[in-house]
Subunit: 296 residues, 2 copies
């Protein structure tokens, strides 16, 4: 399996579906949809949808089982970036090498674009087609999981804590809670919902859930490392911005060397949870390795 | 039937359920939940949940059929008020006689409190209990209706248009589109979801849907009138604030006298749609009259 080809293939599927769910509009809704589309189609890697698809495949399903949920995960991720970038929050002007949403459309429209994407994600997931394909129990379960991972017990809590602890010295425990909620919860939900919709057994759902938890944490540590060692041009934002802002990161608390050791351990743990899935989990394994590789 | 007693009774049921869904938290999530609870328990009339219950009753069901959806509607309504009040949007300091969310908790936390309430609404609706009680088809249908009414084709579109047309002269058609989306969509969805979960036939759902559409419009016109003629103290915000801000309202476009005539006509239309429901729709009838009465 060639990961690069795999990622491109799935990304194309996702992008096409996203364009169908989020069409260009004319008339009174034109500007709102333009603002939503601006960030949704700003060159994201589609990691969450791809994890969702790869997890469904590991469970014996395929991308058609998860398309609405995979797209909803990307919409929710995008809304969270738009709101995080707002002047009242992280106040970022650049994201993925482009001006952030509020810079282009103004604060009010950026808030509404985020609100719109978040709500539309639940519209997309709650379609009758997903109920028909997944059956009632899985349908209910995945919507609830995505809502829980994104909401005030999940991602929103992480962002609230992140903002409130900026510039303050915090302990490892609290930093892990922040990471787990802010980034980890939605990444984990991407894997878990893929497993459920792909038809995994409860035992396999548990294993993939563990994989998702490790991947979520690994991704955040890798992001923290990238912020220091990464190439500003590749990242589309200035390196070192976390430090400047007094963000609590793994390297800031553990130092760079130990952070890299922790990251390697977590990736190994993630890969270990996939043993029973044999070659069906090859994309998930390579995605785990890619989280380290992308630093290079 | 005594409406005052009816409203109080249903409000008590809703408030109790909301407190269960949105408990006080201690630890890292304390502030976020405090911010959400501050606005959710700020003395709202619970009109949307009550409409949902009354509609279910008209269809032959009862409040137990709709509790999660009724509470979700109130959470979504509350989130929309928090975000609308933000400095980047309407910049309101007072709401229902209390300082607005961002005045108390700051802009960042207010944005997150809104995001949290919106997402939690979908968590609450997607619970297994509702699936079990309503059955798969109704379960899917109500979540989709609420998402559609709240999102970028519904309420969010209305708010975007409202902001973009502030201080500009617009025609009646566009003003109606704004009202229909900003306030009407969620009020209508409250009635429609109640009808579906209460077990109404497709024909009865259609009638209640029409009632909801009329009620949504009537409520906005009545709000516009109240802004001019209302008692600042009762409203909890200064009278005349719409005019000052250059909002496009019914009285601004049609004049006060004609606005009152239109309002009466719409209320009559709403009540007419309820004919077939006989005494089961008495609360819905009285709520329609109350929309005019509350001005006095």
């Amino acid at each position: 399996m060639e990961l690069k080809q795999y990622l491109l293939e799935k990304r194309t599927i996702i992008d096409q579906a996203l364009h169908e769910y989020m069409p260009q509009m004319s008339g009174p809704k034109e500007e709102l949809f333009k603002a939503m589309g601006y960030s949704l189609f700003a060159g994201g890697k589609r990691l969450r949808p791809i994890l969702c698809i790869a997890s469904a495949e590991a469970a014996g399903g395929n991308h058609e089982d998860v398309i609405p949920v995979a797209c909803a995960l990307e919409m929710i991720h995008t809304y969270s970036l738009i709101h995080d970038d707002l002047p009242a929050m992280d106040d970022d002007d650049m994201r993925r090498g482009k001006a952030t949403n509020h810079i282009v459309f103004g604060d009010a429209m950026a808030i509404l674009a985020g609100d719109g994407l978040l709500t539309e994600a639940f519209k997309v997931m709650s379609c009758p087609e997903l109920l028909k394909r997944a059956g009632a129990e899985r349908f209910q379960r995945v919507i609830e999981i995505v809502a829980a991972a994104s909401g005030p017990h999940g991602m929103v809590a992480g962002q609230a804590l992140d903002i409130r602890t900026e510039g303050k010295k915090i302990d490892t425990g609290l930093m892990e809670i922040i990471h787990e909620h802010k980034t980890g919860a939605l990444l984990k939900a991407s894997v878990t919902t893929g497993a459920i919709l792909g038809g995994a057994s409860e035992k396999d759902i548990k294993s993939l859930d563990d994989y998702g938890k490790n991947i979520g944490l690994a991704f955040q540590i890798s992001d923290d490392i990238l912020d220091i060692e990464g190439d500003s041009e590749k990242m589309g934002k200035p390196a070192g911005s976390d430090i400047e802002r007094g963000k609590n990161t793994y390297p800031a608390i553990h130092g760079m060397e130990k952070s890299k050791i922790i990251l390697r351990e977590i990736i190994d743990n993630a890969i270990e949870t996939l043993e029973a899935f044999k070659e069906r989990a090859e994309p998930l394994r390579q995605i785990a390795e890619y989280i380290i590789e992308r630093r290079k």
